[in-house]
Amino acid sequence: MREIEFDVVVKAVKDMIMHCGTDLPQDTYEALESAMEAEKSPVSKEVIRQILENANIAKDEKRPLCQDTGLAVFFVNVGEEVRINGGLLRDAINKGTEEGYTEGYLRASTCEPFSRANLKDTVGYNLPAIIHFDIVSGDKIDIEYAAKGGGSENVSRACVFPPAAGKDGIVEYVKEVISDAGGNPCPPITVGVGIGGTFEKACISSKHALFRDLETKHKDPEMAELEERILTEINNLGIGAMGMGGTKTALAVHIESNPCHIASLPVSVNVQCHSSRHTHITI
């Protein structure tokens, strides 16, 4: 059984959070550069230019890319042959989150649902983190992290369709969600589509789909084709960068699909703004 020190996890998480707060990942930056080149609307082109200039300023001056520094979301694969020495893995991730958000001058955006009170006085700074655990073979811990903003989360939706809805039903549903959202989720967006499983499995899959590098297509050619079809349909909506009208509303569509009940076709659409701040580390 391999042992990993509690503080090693804390530091790894803190470093990921501080880095993601100010440095736009390379895949996102490159996807935005391509979008600026391809965009036909001069207004949307200028918006994407500002987004890229913003990324340069943020990186050079270590300023947060966006004032919405998100809720901290993690997908953690824990090897069966590893244990944390000195505390619980969950506590280490939360401690790293608090330290990263505090030391990085990142905004604490967590609040109690009804009083809307900021929880930093009672629970911690931007805590608790949203953590999805899985157990895998091996003696390593793989931590995927994303800073998830509220504007794009607010337009996300899920629905359980009858099986007959099929691919056409899914395409129409995603189009409807993105069309209704317009410029609110800060396009050019990435769209995570969770298909199958149960209601919550589809939702979690749609979230995890957003962690994939933007240029990577689905391994299954049938799913890759569906991703491409949905992407074209979204870009045909004409929403454009920040809703100003244009040809590049989405940078990518990522699908994760699962086997599901014979009675159901769950579909979840999770939207990510242009500031797709995601990274991962293996310890």
Binding site: C66, S109, C186, G238, M242, G243, C273
Partner: protein, 185 residues
């Protein structure tokens, strides 16, 4: 589409010449308020009580900035999604405010209030918080410090870049722009 440089407070003369799609570089004093602050400000107006700042000609920026680093007036400060302020904005415009800065579409009541009271809804680039924060020269919390990032701040901006989304004639750049680039199947 024209580019203008304007200094607050704005007058009807300033706002009536603006057309959806125009670029404006804003200068002067602007006030920040999000959901919780709007709720309190509108409650004060309805109760006939004094506000923490003068609404006449004011621009309200929907923003909750990140904490400033030592030596900086403010952290990153891009716009938040505006529809959450839709139920409050007509009251603000009716009582003298002339502009709002945010991102995303507004409801018909806000657009109608822009026409009736010569108001403008400006869009700033969402997610460009570092770039926009740099155009803010000073910031001071003037009300509701307990709201943290949602406190009301008096900020001074220099050539703060915005686009006219809704003008005083009822035009909406989101509708105009989208219609231009939509591909019908």
């Amino acid at each position: 589409m024209a580019t203008y440089t304007l200094t607050t407070p704005l007058t009807s003369e300033d706002t009536k010449k603006l057309v959806a799609g125009d670029t404006v570089l804003l200068n002067g004093t602007i006030f920040t308020a999000r959901d919780a602050a709007h709720s309190r400000l509108v409650a004060l107006i309805e109760a006939g009580e004094e506000l923490p700042f003068d609404l006449e000609g004011s621009i309200i920026y929907f923003v909750g900035p990140t904490p400033p680093k030592p030596g900086d007036p403010i952290g990153s400060a891009g716009p938040t999604t505006s529809y959450r302020m839709d139920s409050f904005s007509p009251t603000m415009l009716k009582n003298g405010s002339k502009g709002m800065i945010g991102k995303g579409k507004r409801n018909q009541a806000v657009k109608d209030a822009c026409v009736e009271y010569d108001g403008i809804y400006f869009g700033a680039t969402g997610g460009a918080g570092a770039l926009l924060g740099k155009q803010i020269r000073s910031a001071e919390v003037i009300a509701y410090p307990e709201l943290g990032p949602e406190a009301v701040r008096k900020i001074t901006v220099e050539d703060f870049p915005v686009t006219v989304v809704n003008d005083t004639k009822g035009n909406d750049i989101y509708q105009i722009g989208r219609a231009q680039y939509e591909v019908k199947n």
